[in-house]
């Protein structure tokens, strides 16, 4: 749909002759890119298709002639766009260009240390390769090379070796143009020119790993991959990122069954060669020593003991068979696994009591997902085409970093207007120069109604909207009124896939409403069963309430972290009262109270796919081939077999095939029942309304053991307004004590642009876990005093 719109715009083609071959390219194409189209490789270092041309390295010199008039000297082909009647001679046909390139290479190598044997880039280094293909065979320069102290940590994750740098400015241009994190710059001049950080200000960017990947020499290296392997040791597998719903294309490099690094893949329609540091450097949890390796079963004495697979499956089946049971999948499941849970609940447990949302939720959110999200296809392209983007309960840089990069690209390239309805100003809002619509926590819905959008606008709404009553309803009304598109961006990678796979009480796979008899018949026929349960299922909070009141007797739990839930202590008590089957990769609070624990495969050990926030399938293969661990769907299938209620999903492939064959629901959607707009609670004195989100780099379970990554976390602070700071007599840096009847948090204050009634705290950062310590969600009242 969008592609036809694009191709409708007539593209003016220009024909040029490169090395005697004609090629027609769109107007504005650079010579170096036109040559690539012919398969002619002009050596380059600074040129990068996604960064603005700079002509810094001078390696791509070619002879250029326009209308019969030649440039007096070879020109940098990465900065000159093609023009009519242009004749280009590269190093292949012009001895002058060839000599010029060899001369530049000789000068670049003049100060480059010959430390390839200790350099991480050795074996995959553009400088090595191009020195062989386009350099002189021997060096004529004699004497000492310029030396610097090697290496220096420009952040805990990135190391800089200034001796190796060829000053291509890719890293500084990336930081400035793409990430808007200008923490690094080129200092000094001449031979001493070098990449540097500002004094006392390390390279704390969420996107710093991309500079390591695009560095054409070994000047920037990642601390976690330092000296670990050579390219010929690695087995690379295309994969997808499991950390958030952005859906980055990735490459996983494995040596001897262990992931050593992950790189951003090249998918122009999604992540455009970039990814965030969490996706790049948080993978050690897979090989952590505390992984579950054997099934565990609680014995007669109430102790979890190792068991064989047949014993554990029999115990799980016996505990679930004929019981009133529910399923909570968690947001990290693959689409295939979610489909397995969905089918398992309906067939083996004969219930619709399934929910993928292991977090703060609302019924309004469930209905909004069923009415507006499932089956929808808003994409990154819609950000490119939007005239105005509204961010509702969504902090793009922290919660979906690639969405932020795309917003930032559109802001930089065409001044995209961004508005954000929130209680506090965020770093991303500053970068995007977003219109900040300041509201008290809890009263967002009223402010949303006032947004002036058009039919070309886009509303990005995050999962935190479920914490503010009426917000989803206000967004739905605004979209209906203006014609603006809605995109729901959850935080976790598996949530959209789980929604489509029917891991929700009110929806069957493919967005079929449970309440619709035709939809139930549809699925029942495909599954070969007589009928499906017709009663709408419970939500996460209702499931825990049901377990606590013994209305439900058993529960199957996927990758759920109990501290993500509101009132996690009560949730844990509810689990203790019930028969719990836990499918997990590592011990957690849930496995601690489970009756049967079944180890499952982590992302690199299995194949599958995620659906990112767009609903786009992000498939991945198993990177570690000989793992003994199996995907959730296979284990669910084995439990179902043991229960005598087969779900026939023995492999991921089978689940994917069956799910895709079901297709999407083409009948009528669930009608969305609007909820009236909520208001902010009133506060007085030292009271404040809490607002929070999770930082990208925080105490998340999948970042366990990544010490280098932890070093680039943003500081844990409590953001208060200037008015409150004056009232409390504190300045930025002073300790604040935030408390309620459940507990307290003591962290430093930061005075910033925030609603006077509000206080912002990170939700799951070191020393500030608002759900665990305070059990407070967005809009709850806390007391703030100077500590």
């Amino acid at each position: 749909m969008t592609t036809t719109q694009d191709s409708a715009v007539a593209v003016e083609l220009i024909t040029v002759i490169i090395d005697g071959f004609e090629v027609s390219v769109p107007k504005g194409t650079l010579i170096i890119r036109a040559a690539e189209k012919l398969g002619i490789q002009i050596p380059r270092f600074c040129d990068h298709p996604l960064l603005d041309p700079v002509g810094a390295c001078r390696q791509c010199l070619v002879d250029v002639e326009i209308n019969g008039r030649a440039f007096p000297k070879p020109q940098a082909s990465c900065t000159i766009p093609v023009e009519p009647n242009m004749i280009v001679k590269t190093q292949l046909t012009s001895p002058v260009a060839d000599k010029a390139q060899k001369g530049v290479m000789e000068l670049l190598l003049g100060n480059h240390p010959l430390d390839c044997p200790v350099c991480d880039k050795g074996g995959e280094c553009p400088l090595q390769n191009q020195a062989m293909s386009n350099g002189r065979a021997d060096a004529r320069l004699d004497g000492y090379k310029r030396t610097f102290e090697k290496p220096i940590n420009i952040s805990s994750s990135v190391l800089l070796d200034r001796e190796r740098c060829v000053l291509c400015a890719r890293c500084t241009r990336f930081s400035e143009q793409i990430a808007s994190d200008p923490f690094i710059t080129l200092n000094e001049r001449g031979a001493l020119q070098q990449v540097g950080i500002y004094e006392n200000d390390p390279f704390k960017s969420y996107f710093s790993g991309n500079t390591v990947q695009i560095c054409p020499v070994g000047a920037l290296t990642g601390a976690s991959y330092r000296f670990r392997a050579r390219p010929f040791d690695l087995v690379s597998t295309p994969s997808a990122c499991e950390h958030c719903a952005s859906g980055c294309d990735m490459r996983t490099d494995v040596r001897r069954g262990k992931t050593l690094r992950r790189l951003a893949g090249d998918d122009a329609s999604v992540n455009e060669e970039w990814n965030c540091d969490k996706g790049r450097w948080a993978f050690k949890y897979v090989t952590a020593l505390d992984r579950l390796t054997h099934p565990l079963v609680r014995n007669a004495e109430g102790v979890l003991v190792q068991a064989s697979w047949p014993e554990a499956l029999a115990a799980a089946a016996a505990g679930l068979k004929g019981k009133r049971a529910a399923v909570i999948t968690g947001g990290r499941v693959t689409t295939e696994d979610a489909y397995g849970y969905s089918k398992f609940a309906r067939i083996a447990l004969n219930t619709n009591d399934i929910d993928f949302r292991a977090r703060v939720t609302s019924d309004e959110e469930r209905d909004f997902l069923a009415a507006h999200v499932v089956g929808s296809a808003t994409t990154y392209r819609d950000i490119d085409l939007a005239d105005h983007v509204a961010l509702i309960a969504f902090e793009p840089e922290e919660e979906s970093p690639i969405v932020f990069l795309r917003l930032n690209k559109n802001f930089k390239k065409r001044g995209l207007k961004v508005s954000a309805v929130a209680a506090t100003r965020s770093i991303a809002m500053n970068k995007l120069k977003a219109e900040f619509i300041k509201v008290a926590p809890g009263s967002e819905a009223a402010a949303v109604a006032g947004l002036s959008l058009t039919a070309k606008s886009l509303i990005l709404i995050g999962e935190r909207a479920s914490e503010s009553a009426g917000l989803f309803s206000a967004v739905a009304a605004l979209a209906a009124q203006t014609g603006a598109k809605i995109a729901y961006i959850p935080r976790r990678a598996g949530e959209r896939g789980a929604l489509e796979a029917g891991a929700l009480g009110s929806l069957l796979p493919g967005g079929r409403p449970v309440a619709d008899a035709a939809a139930r018949v549809d699925i029942a026929a495909a599954w070969g069963v007589a009928s499906l349960p017709s009663e709408p299922g419970r939500t996460t909070s209702e499931i825990f309430a049901g377990l606590a009141s013994q209305q439900l007797e058993a529960v199957v739990v996927g990758g759920v972290e109990i501290q993500d839930l509101p009132d996690s202590a009560a949730a844990l008590d509810a689990l203790k009262k019930s028969f719990v089957v836990s499918l997990e990769i590592a011990p957690s609070a849930v496995t601690g109270v489970a009756d049967v624990v079944l180890p499952v495969a982590a992302i690199t050990e299995k194949s599958g796919s995620f659906l990112n926030w767009e609903g786009r399938a992000r498939a991945f293969d198993e990177a570690v081939a000989d793992s003994q661990n199996r995907s959730d769907v296979r284990i669910l299938s084995m439990i179902a077999d043991a229960m005598g209620e087969s779900i026939m999903l023995g492999t991921v492939t089978a689940a994917a095939r069956e799910f895709n064959q079901l297709g999407k629901w083409d009948g009528s959607r669930v009608q969305f029942a609007p909820v009236s707009a909520g208001t902010a609670k009133s506060v007085n004195g030292n009271e404040a309304l809490i607002t929070s989100w999770r930082r990208l780099l925080d105490m998340g379970a999948l970042q366990k053991g990544e010490d280098n990554l932890a070093g680039t976390r943003r500081p844990t602070v409590a953001v208060i307004s200037a008015q409150r700071a004056t009232a409390l007599g504190v300045t930025s840096g002073d300790q604040l004590r935030i408390s309620n009847s459940r507990g307290s948090i003591t962290i430093p204050a930061l005075v910033d642009d925030i609603h006077d009634d509000a206080i912002w705290l990170p939700r799951n950062s070191f020393a500030s876990q608002t759900l665990v310590s305070l059990d407070a969600v967005h809009g709850d009242v806390v007391t703030v005093v100077k500590a």
Binding site: P117, V118, K150, F227, A229, F232
Partner: protein, 204 residues
Amino acid sequence: MSDFIEPRKSSELDINSVPFVEVNQPGPASLLTQAKGFWVTFSTMFKKNQTVQYPDVKAPTAPRFHGRHQLNRHPDGLEKCIGCELCAWACPADAIYVEGGNNTPGNQLSPGERHGAVYQINYLRCIFCGLCVEACPTRALTMTNEYELADDKREKLIFEKEDLLAPLRQGMLAPPHPMYPGMTDTNYYNGDVKEAHPSQQGQN
């Protein structure tokens, strides 16, 4: 008709009726030719005996014989290997496995930033071609003349770094220890370090 042919009893066999091909064989060689042959045998009795009483007597090899590898040390005892894996890259038999490691202030095994953390040569695969020695950029890997590499277990023929490291000689200190004071890794490669400095001892 059946393919099975009933075997005949031996009593039914007439040996003369079995068909055969007559082969022409030359008769005995002339006496002179035979004497020539026996003369070789006879004259050998007066030559020097070439039999080596191995393993009681071990004959020295040629000086550049390709035997077991050795990972050499700098004169102060630091390892020359930097874990660059060029030997593994050069190896045509895929017999070498290397993992690099980071030299830290408390764990300096070689000069500079990088050391070989894991170093294995699989002598079940090694063909003793010496390409690894040619590839080594720091002269860490050379070959000794040791050729007694048989063993009774496959695992024993995978030599670890400890098995391959050269012994500590006079003036050397066992790593990890800091680099020679005032010297850089370049000085080490230029041969400026002659022996361990007293200050290098006991700092780790």
